[in-house]
Amino acid sequence: MTSQESYATVLALLTALAAGLVGSFAQMKRMSLAGDVISHVALPGLGLALLFGINPLLGAAVALLLGTILIWHLQKGGTLTTDVAIGVIFTGALAIGTLVTPSEDLIEALFGGFQDLGLPAFLVGILLVLVILTYIYTSRQKLILRIFSPELAAATGINVSRVDLYFLLVFSTTVLLGLRFLGALLVGALIIVPAAIGRQLTHTLTAFLSASALASVLSVAIGLAITHYYTHLAIGTITINLALGPTVISVATILFVFSFLRKKN
């Protein structure tokens, strides 16, 4: 493994750790739908950046920031129409993103892939992971109270609207980190599915956070290992192409099925 491959692997695993933790709080906040929309909002940014020859992650970052602020405003309204608006943004972002993304880059933008990583990009990535982990560690008490009851949280002196905005920004940063290897269509799943696994298997907060983080890291590690050694899987006459993004999310989904069966039993 070259050092650039090592950087990419380490950053992918650390991103998985962050995604598991952020996903746990997102699930408790019941914002899986809004979270999924945020990941799709990255696509038009990616596409436009590719079109104009700019760094695609920079385009994605700008689109994510705008999407985050938009969703934050919609959530603040707290009306039924929020769901409708989120649905419109989701399909609109996907459609516009698909239109503007050059066709040769579309599959990678949607489903990601393993790319080597230079040292500067690796260091920026590590810094972003640290920001996410620090936020979760220092703000978890406020998040817990906000999740339990926004009214009680506000009465305790917490600025609920600010907590919501910061959490959405952390969520978007996690999406941005995962975008490189999972793509705009699948990155949301790394935040949602491991948390769903953790919730099936645990009953306490600490166990839930730990299990979600572990499930996320395991999904990425197994996905990376499979795609490192195999490019495709042949079953009889059928050949399955093993791309990184779909493989990671398939592993996560299989783990979810196991966790579901275990809970049922």
């Binding site: 008490q141 406020k142 109270l145 339990f148 009851s149 009214e151 009465a155 306490t204 907060l205």
Partner: protein, 231 residues
């Protein structure tokens, strides 16, 4: 000095005047009960006092006052993996008070260690409500704001919660502003009663405010129901 002075308070939400020109005071240790029919603005009043809704007029709390709040009918998500241990700790760390006092608070509201470690969605309604009262007591409040604290509890449990609130108020010398429909409790515990129907209809001792004339004026036709079931 009073704990709270409210002067000419009005609350207008979505073009609807919910509280109009309300003035009252609250002294240390005073037990103020707020009575009124549904939609009279009782919950809105507590939310305005907590500055959770926009208002006009003056709400002046004593400097450094500590307020505990028990909301009405809080529906806990049954799927949350949160326990009162988590929530008590979260509140302590948010308002910077030591977590060790939570053991004493849990005992004073009758929560066992096992209940503290049970996810909140799995507690009975009475246990859940005791936890909310315990949550409000963290940080040694000077005043409790309670919004129909027995709204989601069956009758025998309701009696226990009222007894608990009365005992805690005496134990910690707490002032309180409580919204309640239970006239028996109000007459037994309140030192002052505020009859509210968007405007203040009457404020005074329970003997004055709970007179049949005032209650009929407050509740209208529904008064006979309250009279038969609670008095």
């Amino acid at each position: 000095m009073n704990l709270l002075n409210v002067k000419n308070l009005s609350v207008l939400i979505e073009q609807k005047l919910l509280i109009e020109n309300l003035s009252f005071e609250l002294a240390r240790g005073e037990k103020l009960c707020v009575l009124g029919p549904n939609g009279a603005g009782k919950t809105v009043l507590l939310r305005a006092l907590l500055r959770l809704v926009p208002y006009r007029g003056e709400i002046t709390w004593a400097p450094d006052v500590r307020i505990g709040y028990v909301p009405q009918k809080l529906e806990a998500d049954r799927h949350l993996p949160l326990t009162y241990n988590d929530l008590f700790e979260a509140k302590c760390k948010t308002i910077n008070v030591p977590t060790k006092n939570t053991v004493e608070i849990a005992q004073s509201v009758g929560l066992t260690k096992e209940m503290l470690e049970t996810p909140v969605g799995h507690l009975s309604s009475g246990q859940f409500q005791r936890g909310l009262i315990g949550f409000a007591l963290i940080g040694q409040p000077d005043v409790l704001l309670l919004d129909e604290p027995t709204a989601s509890i069956d009758e025998p449990g309701e009696e226990h919660i009222y007894e608990l609130i009365g005992r805690l108020q005496n134990q910690f010398n707490l002032a309180s502003i409580m919204v309640s429909h239970d006239l028996t409790f109000v007459s037994r515990y309140a030192t002052t009663v505020l009859c509210l129907n968007r405007r203040s209809l009457c404020i005074g001792s329970p003997q004055v405010a709970l007179s049949p004339e005032v209650l009929k004026n407050l509740y209208g036709e529904a008064y006979s129901y309250y009279h038969h079931t609670h008095c």
